[in-house]
Every structure is written in C-alpha cells, then in structure tokens.
C-alpha cells in the first residue's frame, strides 16, 4: 500500500496546538485515536516515544518523521500535523519543526513501513512542496496537495 492511500482529512490536523515535543507526539497519536485508526493510545504513544528516545526524528528544514512499530496497530497508520509556528523537536539542524509525519506499522509490516518512510523521505526533498504544505490552512488543502489533484 502506498502512503498516498492512507491520506484522508481525518488524519490531518492544521494547525497543531502543541508547543513542545512530548505534546506534539501526544497530539499526533490523538489524531489517529480520533480518526478511529487506533484503539490503544498509550501503547502507540509508548512505541513512538521509545524510538524518539534513541534519537530525534526531527530532520532538516522543519520536517519531522516520528515513527515506530508496535503490536498496537494493524498495518500502516499515518497522521500528518502542521505547526506553522514551529516546534522544538530536537531536530538535526536545530531548527523548529513545522511539518510532522507520524508513521506507525504493525510488527509484521517492516517492508511496507520502509517503503512508506521512503516515500516521505522523497517528499521531504522537495523544499517548495514542503513549504506549500506548511502554508496550508486546512486539512482539505493538505490532502489536495498530497494527492496532487
């Protein structure tokens, strides 16, 4: 399954209201809970935090890709959050993160998880596209941009 198939307005939040790293992770996991994509909020949050504790998934140029694998999800789950104000996510270049892709996979989905993460990594290479996403004002706008329609 391509990452693009996971994208709906229900799994996108604009803007994120959090102002720190832990709250962003909570808010992203809550998006999935609210969308009915997960049931075990705490199990998912623990997996995301465990990965984040090893090293931040805050990349360069305002993009963060928190991720993890856990028995608390089925298949692949994606949540997208946009924080135009920027949030300190211990990013690689020290800059605040604005565009968050939370990607979770079940324990038996290593291959599809890698493929979806690779898609996000390639999207992140386009600075103009990421800038457009960060400027989006609604979830519908993000979905439209992501699907290129």
């Amino acid at each position: 399954m391509s990452m693009i198939n996971l994208i709906t307005e229900e799994i996108v939040k604009v803007p994120l209201v959090s102002d720190n790293k832990l709250d962003v992770m909570r808010e992203l996991v809550q998006i999935l809970k609210n969308a009915g994509e997960i049931e075990d909020y705490n199990g998912v949050l623990t997996a995301v935090q465990a990965r984040e504790d090893k090293q931040s998934t805050g990349l360069e140029d305002g993009i963060a890709v928190p991720h993890g694998r856990t028995a608390a999800v089925d298949g692949l789950k994606l949540a997208i959050g946009i924080a135009p104000q920027g949030i300190d996510f211990d990013s690689y270049d020290g800059k605040p993160s604005k565009l968050f892709f939370l990607l979770l996979a079940s324990l038996d989905s290593a291959g599809p998880h890698v493929a979806a993460l690779a898609e996000i990594a390639k999207l992140a290479q386009s600075k103009s596209f990421c800038r457009a996403l960060c400027n989006a004002e609604t979830a519908a706008e993000v979905v439209e941009l992501m699907k290129g329609e």
Binding site: M1, I4, A110, G111, P112, H113, V114, A118, E119, A124
Partner: protein, 162 residues
C-alpha cells in the same frame, strides 16, 4: 500458442495486493503450464536512503533488514504453499537492493515472459507516480506486465482451481 507464456514471475512485497497477485499467478501457471517464480525484494536501497536522511538509525536499519528477511521467507513460503495446494510448483526468489532494478534484472536473467504485480495504489498522484518502485518496474519491464485487480474474484478463481 503453447509458447505464449513459459515463465511467469509474481512480485511479492508483503502486501495483501501482492498475495492476491500470487493467487492469480498460480491460476495462470496452472492453466498455461508455465513455470512460476515468486520474487521478494528486500528494499535495502530505501533503507540506505532512510539512514542517509537520518530517519533511520544504524541499529534500526539492521533490525528492519532482519525482520524483512523473515517477512520474505514467510511470504514466499506462503505463496509456495498456496501453489502446492493447487498442484503448481513455485520457485522462490529473494534479492536485495532497489525494487525496480531487482525486478527488471530478474525478468532478464530468468527470461520471464510475464510479470504479475498486485494492484497499484487506487489513488495515483503525479507526485507519487515518480516514487512508486513497483510502478516504475511496471513501466520499465522488458516483458508483458499484468496488474491483478478484484481481490474477491481472484480468490474465487483460486479457490475453484482443482
């Protein structure tokens, strides 16, 4: 007509779509008496990219590769079992690297007549099209390519195979 298809290769990637493709390929192999190869590619190229872009840690890459090896074994065995139930012998093939490149090389090396792949994303975007490895393989394969759709119909076809 007996030479229409001699060797079929189905690409397996751990998705439901690829399992459906395998069921269809088993039906085709049964009807045509063609040899069937199931090919799983460990996308180590993507993992290297993830490491380079700091999304993956080194130990994370090692862990995922180990798990993907196990996934490959499990899915290939599953396809072989499905084939065996229908009297179709399945040759298992596993490789590592870029999905597109590995598929194309296997098609050439094994002289595959027909490449069978699972349904591509229902929603295609111009952007996504550039990145989807399976779609790139479909476009660049030197043989005919069959994209399998309609999971329920394929399942019924497979089940009705004696």
């Amino acid at each position: 007509m007996s030479d229409l298809v001699k060797r079929i290769m189905v690409y397996i990637d751990g998705t439901e779509q690829s399992v459906t493709a395998a069921q269809y390929a088993i039906c085709l192999a049964s009807f045509s008496s063609a040899e069937l190869v199931a090919h799983y590619v460990l996308n180590t190229k993507a993992m290297s990219d993830l490491l380079r872009t700091h999304i993956f840690l080194q130990d994370e890459q090692t862990e995922y590769e180990h798990d993907m090896e196990a996934d490959a074994e499990r899915y290939l065995n599953y396809v072989a079992e499905m084939g065996m139930k229908k009297g179709v012998s399945v040759v298992k093939k596993r490789s590592k690297g870029s999905v597109q490149r590995e598929i194309i090389e296997a098609v050439k090396d094994l002289e595959v007549d027909l490449l069978v792949i699972g349904e591509l994303s229902r929603i295609r975007s111009r952007r996504d099209e550039l990145y989807d490895e399976t779609e790139r393989a479909m476009r660049s394969a030197p043989c005919s390519v069959l994209i399998v759709k309609d999971e329920e119909r394929v399942w019924n076809l497979y089940e009705s195979l004696v």
